[in-house]
Amino acid sequence: MRTKSLCLLFGALILLLAAGPVSAKDLKVGFIYVTPIGDAGYSYMHDQGRQAVEAMVGVDTSYVEAVQEGPDAERVLRNMARKGFDLIFATSYGYMDSVIKVAKQFPEIIFMHFSGFKRAENVGTYFGRIYQARYLTGIAAGKMTTSNVLGYVAAYPIPEVIRGINAFTLGARSVNPEVQVRVVWTKSWYDPATEKEAAKSLIDVGADVIAQHADSPAPQEAAQESGVYSIGYNSDMSSFAPDSHLTAAIWKYQNLYRDIVKQVKNDTWKSTDIWAGLDENVVGIAPFGPMVDTETAELVTAKKEAIAAGDLQVFSGPIRDQDGELRVEKGEAMSDEELLGMTWFVENVVGTTQ
C-alpha cells in the first residue's frame, strides 16, 4: 500500500517536471541606477531601456535604484551576481572599480559599464555621443536667445560634462558668435534643490536659456517660473516646463540595450567599447516647443541629418580654448581619445573646469 502511494507520488512529480517550461532558461538581466528612477531624467531613461529589454521574449529583468557610488555599489553588484543574473548593466561612471572587482569574482557573468574606460574579459563598456545632440540644442539656444547669455547647470567637472558644455557652446556659436555660456557646478548628479538654485542664479545674471547636465527637471522648472527658455536633458522634459522647453538632448537607450541583450542571448557578445551616436539612433533631440520658429527647426534638423550621415563633425577646427589658444587646427577634428579626456573649455564659455 505504502509503496504504491510512493510510486504514485513519484509518477506525479515526474509528470509535473516534464510539464514545466520547455524553452531554454530565461536570461536574467540586472540594472543598477545611481538615482531614484522618478519620472524624468537619467535613471528614468535607463529604466525605459530596461523596460524595452523586459518586453523581449525569454528575458527577465530587475533593478536596484538609488545606489551610491561606493561600498554599497559593490555589495549590490555582488548580490545580483550571486542571485543568478547573467548580464548586469552598471549605469554610472562611479561604479567602475566596483564592477571590475566583482567581475573578477564572477567570471561567468557579463557586466556592461556605462561611460567607463576599464574593461575585462567579461566587462564591456558602452556610451553614447550625447554631445552631438547637445550641439543641436546649442543651435536652437543660440537662435532663441536675446540677451546672448546662456546658462548651464552642470553636475561634475569631468570630461563627459565638459564635452557636453563645449558641444553646446559650439552649436550656439555656429549661429550666434556673440553668445556666452555661463556654467554653474552642482557637484551632485541628483540634487533638485541645488539644481534649481543654480538655474535661478544663472537667470539672475541675465541668462535667458537654461541648459543642464544633471538628473532632475528642476532647472527647467526654474526657467518656467522665471519665464525664460530652457533645454532639457536625458528625457523630453516639456511636461515640466511647457512654456519654456525649446527641446532636449535625449538618450534612446532602448536600441542599445536590446542589441547588447541580443548579443548575449546569441552568445556573440564580446568585451568591446561601444560609443554610438545619432547615426545609430542612440541619442536624439526632443520635439521642438511651439515657440521655436520653423527656420530654426529646419536648420537644426538639417544639421542633425548632416551629423548622422557623417558629413559634419562637432569638434572640428578651428577650435580655440577659453584663453584664445588654438587647440584644434582648421581642417582637423578631435580624435575619440582626445574627446574622452577633454578637460578644457572652448571660447565663449564663462566658468572654470575646477
Binding site: 530587475s62 535604484e65 561606493g70 569631468i158 570630461p159 575646477q354
Partner: protein, 349 residues
C-alpha cells in the same frame, strides 16, 4: 479611562518583550504598506530577512556594513554617558578618513605592518582633534557642543571634498573626485576566504575594552556619576573639565577609526561618497542600545541588516528605494517609543 503612570522601578525581565512587540508591530505596518502597493506582503518580509540575515553572504555583508556604524556609535555613546551631546560623528568620521588617506598616500612605500598602524594613528589624531575643538569651545568659550559639533560636520566634509577635488585627485580618474587607489599595504585585508575584513576584529577589541573600562575603572565610574548628576560629581571632586575633553577626544577618535576602516577596507581610496551618513545613524543606534556597548554591537548589526535587506527587496520585488527608508523609520520609531514603556505604564483610573 487610561492614565499614564511612572513605574516605581524600570521594567526588568520583560523589557525584551516590549522590544519584540515593537518590532513585530512595525513589521506588520510595513506588511500592510506592501499590501497597499499591491505587493505580496509576507513574501516581501521573507525576502527582507533572507537578504539581510538569511545566508552566509548576507551575514558577511551585514557585518561589514555594521563595522563603521558600531565604531561611530560607540564613540557617540561615550560622550552621551557624560551628557555631552556629540552630534559630530559625521565630521569626525570625515576627518578620520582624511587622516588615514594622508598616511596612505604619502607613506605608500611602507609595508602593511607599518602603514596600517600609521593610518590608524593619523585617523585617531585627526578624528580626535575634531572632537577636541568642540570640547575646548565648550569649556573655555561656553559654546554649546550640540551646535559646534554639528557645524564642524560641514567643515569636516568640506575639507574632505577640498582635498579629493584638489591636490589628492587621481590624475587617471578623468576629473572625477577621487584619490588614486591605495597600495595593497594600505588596504585592510579580508579574513581568510570570507568577504569579512580585519576591521571587524578591531571592533571586537575596542568594544570589549570599552565595556570593561566603563564597567570596572575609575574613569567609567566618574563618567557615570558626573553624567547622571554633574553637581554631585563636582562635590565629589570629579574633574569635569578633564572628562569633557577626554570623552570628546575618544568620541572623535572612534568615529575617525570608522572613517579609516571604511576608506581602507571597503573603498580602497578616498572619494566623497565615503560619507554615507553613518555619523547620524550612530546617534540612533546609541540611543536604541541605551549607551551599552553590547547593545550597540547588537543594534549596529540589526540596523546594518535592515539596510542590506531592503536592497534585496528592491531587487527581488522591485519595491522603490524609498520604501526601504519608510521601513527603517517605522522600526526605529516603534522601538524608540517602545522604550517609553520601560519607565511608564498605562493604568486604569
Amino acid at each position: 479611562m487610561l492614565q499614564l503612570r511612572k513605574r516605581p522601578t524600570p521594567l526588568g525581565w520583560s523589557a525584551p518583550l516590549v522590544f519584540v512587540t515593537a518590532v513585530v508591530l512595525s513589521l506588520a505596518v510595513s506588511a500592510l504598506l506592501l499590501r497597499l502597493q499591491g505587493q505580496p506582503a509576507w513574501e516581501g518580509l521573507a525576502v527582507f530577512f533572507q537578504s539581510g540575515f538569511g545566508s552566509t553572504w548576507a551575514l558577511e555583508d551585514t557585518l561589514n556594513k555594521a563595522v563603521p556604524l558600531f565604531l561611530c556609535s560607540l564613540g557617540v555613546a561615550v560622550a552621551f554617558k557624560l551628557q555631552i551631546w556629540n552630534i559630530g560623528a559625521e565630521g569626525q568620521f570625515a576627518l578620520g578618513a582624511v587622516g588615514a588617506t594622508w598616511a596612505a598616500l604619502y607613506f605608500s612605500f611602507l609595508p602593511w605592518f607599518f602603514l596600517l598602524p600609521l593610518m590608524l594613528l593619523s585617523a585617531t589624531i585627526a578624528g580626535g582633534i575634531w572632537g577636541l575643538i568642540p570640547a575646548l569651545l565648550k569649556l573655555y568659550m561656553r559654546a554649546n557642543e550640540i551646535i559646534t559639533t554639528l557645524m564642524l560636520n560641514y567643515i569636516g566634509i568640506l575639507i574632505l571634498e577640498f582635498l579629493v577635488y584638489g591636490s589628492w585627485k587621481d590624475r587617471a580618474s578623468f576629473g572625477f573626485p577621487m584619490t588614486p587607489v591605495f597600495e595593497s599595504g594600505a588596504v585592510i585585508a579580508r579574513i581568510g576566504r570570507t568577504n569579512l575584513h580585519y576591521g571587524l576584529l578591531l571592533c571586537l577589541a575596542i568594544g570589549l575594552a570599552m565595556a570593561l573600562v566603563l564597567a570596572y575603572t575609575r574613569f567609567g565610574y566618574e563618567l557615570k556619576a558626573s553624567g547622571e548628576n554633574p553637581r554631585a560629581g563636582r562635590y565629589a571632586h570629579i574633574p569635569y573639565k578633564k572628562l569633557v575633553i577626554l570623552v570628546l577626544v575618544i568620541s572623535g577618535a572612534l568615529a575617525g577609526w570608522a572613517g579609516f576602516v571604511e576608506t581602507s577596507a571597503t573603498l580602497n581610496r578616498l572619494q566623497p561618497s565615503v560619507m554615507a551618513g553613518y555619523g547620524y545613524t550612530a546617534i540612533v543606534v546609541a540611543w536604541l542600545a541605551r549607551l551599552n556597548p553590547l547593545g550597540i554591537a547588537l543594534f549596529s548589526f540589526l540596523l546594518a541588516g535592515m539596510l542590506v535587506g531592503v536592497e534585496g527587496m528592491q531587487l527581488e520585488l522591485q519595491i522603490p528605494a524609498a520604501f526601504g527608508k519608510i521601513m527603517e523609520g517605522l522600526i526605529l520609531l516603534t522601538v524608540l517609543s517602545g522604550q517609553f514603556f520601560r519607565n511608564y505604564r498605562f493604568a486604569r483610573r
